[in-house]
Structure formats: C-alpha cells, structure tokens
Symmetry: C2
Subunit: 369 residues, 2 copies
C-alpha cells in the first residue's frame, strides 16, 4: 500500500481525530494543513523555508503542471519531488476543479472535458484516464480522482447527474491507476449542498474502496454554517479508518471547525495568497500590514510566534517592505501565515490528545473574531 493511516484516538469532546499518515516520503500526525504549491513551488518560498515552517505534505496542481512545464518533463526530471526538491510528501489534485472553473473555455462530455489553456488558448482534453496518467507521471504520494466540483448555488437537477458522472469517472480513474503501490488514489465525495445527494455520493464512492476520501465542492461560496452542516451529515458516513480530506479549506476558523467534525487533512491557497496582499493571519485575527498604526510598531507580527519572521522582524519593517513593494515582504508574511496555520494544527492535535478539542476550539474562535 502506498499509504498507511493509523487512527490513534477520537477526542472525548468532539468528532476530532488524531492519526498518523505515512507515505513513502515521511510520516506525520493528522489533522494536518497542506500548503499549496500550485506550479511546483509554494509561492515565494524555497523548499528549505517550507520545511522550516514545519510542513510535511504539500499540494500541487495537476492542471497547472500539465500545461506548464508538462507532466512528461517533470517525469523525465525524476518526478515532482525531485523537480521541485521537496523532500516531504506531495498530494496532487486531479485538475478537475481548475478545468471546470474555466467556464466558457471548457466543454463536458461523458468521456471527459475539452478545454482551452488559460495560458495560450491551446486546445486540450482531460479524461479520468488522462488525469491519472498525468498524476502518475508527476509521482505524488497521494493523487485524486477526476471529478466535477459543482458550483454554488446549483439545482438538484444539475448536481445529481454531475455526481453520478463523477462516480463513473471515479471507477474509470481506479481502473486506470496502475501505480497503486507507490501512489494512493483518493475518492472525492460531491453532492453540492444536498444532504441526501452527499449521502448517495459517499455510499457509492465508499463501495469503490479507495484508501482515502475527500469532501469536495465545499468552500465554493456558500455560507460557512452551511458548509459545517454538510460536513456534519457527510463525514460520519466516511470510513473511520481512512484519512478524510476537506479540499480547498484553510481559513483559521474553518480549519478548527473542520477538525471538530472529523476532518484529517486540509489544503488552501489562502495563507500565501493573502500574504501577497500584505495580510497576516494571527490568533487575534487579520493584520493589514500596510495600515498606518503599524508604521512605528516595533513589535513582531505576533508575540510568541516562533516563525523566522516573528523571531526577527518588526511590524514596522514588514510595513515598510509592503509599502515599498519589496518581494521580501511577501516572503516574510507567507512564512508567518503558513507557520501560524501549522502551529494552529499542532495545538489542535495536542488538544485532541488531551480530550479538550472543543474547549480549545472555543478559545481559538473567540480570539479570532
């Protein structure tokens, strides 16, 4: 088996779980946050900096790497780990989300999706088989089924046939996947905001017996309480002894809420994307670094934070870098934001270990607001 997941315990206060996930590139405790390295780089950071943040597994995007530099080139270089010099684990998404987001540039059929590249307009076609072929060439430790992430809002009449096709595609992905000893293929549960459709998707996906499952199609514009409701009805249907991954979710509050509901893995571009807008995540909410009050604030972004940025630099310096449009500002805030989420997850794991996940979550959420 490509991965080994051990469930250590479920918190006495909530559905939060403590586990260990092992891949060919290391072993780490869950729940965990995965920084996103869309184009084979966690934006602005060296792999050494990403390691120093405490990241154990990162996500990279199949769609982007397929278009540029091309999966065959990455394969020729020795695979994605070697290409980008990331020593830890990697998960690649299937490209489905990006391809469906192209809207006017794509056309769906039972066979797959034909689309035009957002880079040069060139024509491409990705089927479930092709998505697996690309992901096998990239060589991530965990790969994902090719799926459709339904938009929000979407009628039942759209969501039902979409999830049925995603189920058929999942089977085709499974059949096409030959590298099962080195890469674990996860199934994706869809079903929009409809509890019964989620249940149907979960049931059928679980029948296919994947080594792990994700909840897709959330954090697509719906109110957060609705997302949590869907998690509450869907997650309990998922196998307890397999990892559960909530795709595209990474705001501090949603991470905490997701963990309470039994999610083990998360990914999101948020920490690095907001950093590039000069926004820092802290345990007392967001800090807009360029704001005037920080001009002569010689304290770190967050007292007590152990990241390189907070250990070394003042808010005044960071504000100067952002105002002067210096790249180092983005680098330093990205480091802090990622480390902040890593520490948040470390603290959540400790709270689960000590059966106080709910009390800890309440504390965290109260300070965030």
């Amino acid at each position: 088996m490509a991965i080994k997941f051990i469930l250590h315990k479920i918190c006495a206060q909530s559905g939060a779980r403590l586990g260990t996930l092992e891949t060919a590139h290391g072993s780490f405790e869950t729940p965990i946050f995965m920084p996103v390295g869309t184009q084979a780089t966690v934006k602005t950071l060296t792999p050494a900096q990403v390691e120093a943040i405490g990241a154990k597994i990162i996500l990279s995007n199949t769609y982007h790497l397929y278009l540029r530099p091309g999966h065959r080139l990455v394969e020729k270089s020795g695979g994605l780990h070697k290409f980008m010099q990331w020593p830890g684990s990697i998960l690649t998404d299937s490209g489905g989300y990006q391809v469906f987001s192209l809207n006017d540039l794509r056309k769906i059929s039972e066979e797959g999706v034909s689309f035009r590249s957002h880079i040069d307009g060139s024509k491409h076609f990705i089927s479930p088989e092709k998505a697996i072929e690309i992901q096998q060439a990239l060589g991530a430790d965990i790969i994902m089924c090719f799926d459709e992430c339904a938009p929000y809002p979407a009628d039942r009449s759209y969501v039902l046939p979409s999830l049925e096709r995603t189920l058929r595609w999942a089977k085709r992905c499974q059949d096409a996947h030959s590298n099962v000893e080195r890469q674990a293929l996860f199934g994706i549960i869809q079903g929009g905001m409809y509890h019964d459709l989620r249940a149907r998707s979960a049931e059928k996906m679980i029948e296919l017996d994947f080594p792990g499952y994700s909840v897709g199609g959330l954090s697509v514009g719906e109110p957060k309480p609705l997302m949590y409701e869907i998690l509450e009805s869907t997650v309990p249907l998922m196998p307890a002894y397999k990892p559960r991954y909530l795709m595209g979710v990474g705001s501090p509050d949603a991470l905490v809420e997701g963990v309470l509901r039994g999610i083990d893995m998360f990914d999101c571009v948020l920490p690095t994307r907001v950093a590039r807008n000069g926004l820092a995540l802290t345990s007392f909410g967001k800090v807009v670094v360029r704001n005037n009050p920080y001009a002569e604030d010689f304290a770190p972004l967050e007292e007590g934070c152990d990241c390189y940025t907070c250990q070394k630099f003042s808010r005044a310096y960071l504000r100067h870098l952002i105002k002067a449009e210096e790249v180092l500002g983005l680098v330093l805030i990205s480091i802090h934001n990622l480390r902040f989420l890593m520490r948040l997850m470390e603290k959540m794991r400790q709270a689960i270990r000590e059966d106080r996940s709910l009390s800890f979550a309440k504390e965290v959420l109260a300070k965030l607001l």
Copy 2:
C-alpha cells in the same frame, strides 16, 4: 576609529591588494563585493540567505531610506542593522547619485540640492549636512560624502566646477560628522573622464584625510577601457593604507579589472537586477534561463557552484519558474548570482595571496567572453 584597515600585501603580478577591513559589525578580507539592499533589503532575499551567500557587508541607499520609511523611523527602531536584521557591516551611500539622477526633478545650489520625490512628488532638500544627519540616523558602519556624480559625457567646463563643489561639500560633510567613533566617513573622488581633474579631486580629497576613499562617477555609460584608464591614473594617487572603493561597479569582468588596478571594495545592483530578468551569471558567461535549450536541461546553473540554487535545482526547474512568473525563480537566481560574485572575489583574494592575480584574471576573463 570606526574602521580598521590592514593592507596585507600587494600581488607581485599587478596592483591587486589583499587586506582586512574591520568594522563594529565584523571583519572581512578585501577585495570584496557588497550586495546592494537599496530599500533596507537585498531584493527578494532574507538576511539569512544573504549571510549564507557569504556576504559580509552590504550597501543601502540613503535617498530611498530617507524618503521611505524615513531615517528617523529607522533610528527609532534601533538603526538600520536592527531594522533590517542584518548582522554584518553596512555602507550607506550619500544620496547624491540618486538625487542628481532625478534630472528634471532637482535643482542644484551651493547650499545643496532641492528635489521632488520620485514616489509622491513631495519637495525635499538635501545638503551635505543633511546627508550626514540622515546617514548618522541610519547608523551604517561606513558612510559617504554628499557628492555630484557628473554624467557621461560631460565637458570640462561642467566637470571642473562640479568637482570643486563636491570638494567644498566634502569639507562640510566632515565638519557635520560627529559620530566618528562609530561611523567612518569616506571621501569620493570625482573628475569625470579627465585625468588631470581626477588628480586634482584626489589631491584635495586626500588633504581632508578621510579614513577611506571611493572613486565615483565611473560606470556611468563610458566604454570600459576608458574606465580602466581612469582607474590606472587615479588609484595610484590614493593612500595605500586606506580602503579604496569603486562605486557602482559589479559586472564580473569589471570586478576583476578593478581588483588588478588596486580597488578593495565594490558594489552594484547588477547581480540582483539581472536575476529579476532571469539572467544568471556564470564563469562561462551569462545564461538566459528562459531560453529553450534549458527546457530539459537537468544540470545545475553552474557545475561546481556551491550555492543553494546549484546544489538543489536544475536549469529546467529554474526555467519553469521564470516562465511561470514565480517569485522563487528570482530568489534562486539572485542567490546564485550573488554567490557567483562572492566566489569570484574569494578566488581573486586567493590568487593575490599566491602572487598570481594577473594569470588568474586572464583565465577568468577568457572564459567569460
């Protein structure tokens, strides 16, 4: 004294000198190259990365820091070293070069230069006294006299009164400089491309007895052979037992030629600026990283280079980053380019030690072309 310079030897093959320069922030061998951190950051790099490159002293720009974030803010934060968390030595220029480069935006008088900010058009005035006040607030280990760097080409009738004013300004800088125990003030020799005017400037500047001298007004558009001619006539006039600094020069060939002619210190934005255009410096010339031949080139930028970039990443990966407009591409090429110049200077110092600077220089220059 703020600095201590020890001249160890002059090469038997050329005018190249081996020395040690000591400041309150460390001691290092000369000749040395100083990376430029214009806005209190060596562009795209953390101080830790700049240290890892082997840099011992960096240059920062008075004009830029005066305008943003302001020298008083930097002073309040504990000075420039603390503000930017650079543990090594710092040299600040005087702002003269930048102010004079503003052309239509500035007006010169005997008193100083009034100008408009390139950022917001606000009105400012920098006199020699003000330039020293700013540099004292910033707190660099070595500071520079406020001077005019004459353009190229420039008539004798322009250069002569300009250098005379620069001499009067140097005296005023010296009189205004109160922090002599912590900051060494260097004089700047001007005189355009006129040997006799250079000699006049050198003679008068030396009478003022500064702890170090720079050659300014070169690498301003003149052909390189002309720059070398000026160095050949000017450098021998400079005190042997004081450091000699050639301002704004940093192309690999000009560094080698400058060292042969007795220069101890250099600075230039070139290695980081060309990196941001995807251009790598190597001992066999420039590498345009985005070029097609590197698409599937899995070798490092330069075989045998000990920098983080060359130890870890392939040309194919760097090309991918540059084509995908990823910041990490600029970071990694900046690291390589700076390390390349650091190693070039290390090798030059070793060659001087072994009395083979000229033979070594010939080898280097032959490979560069």
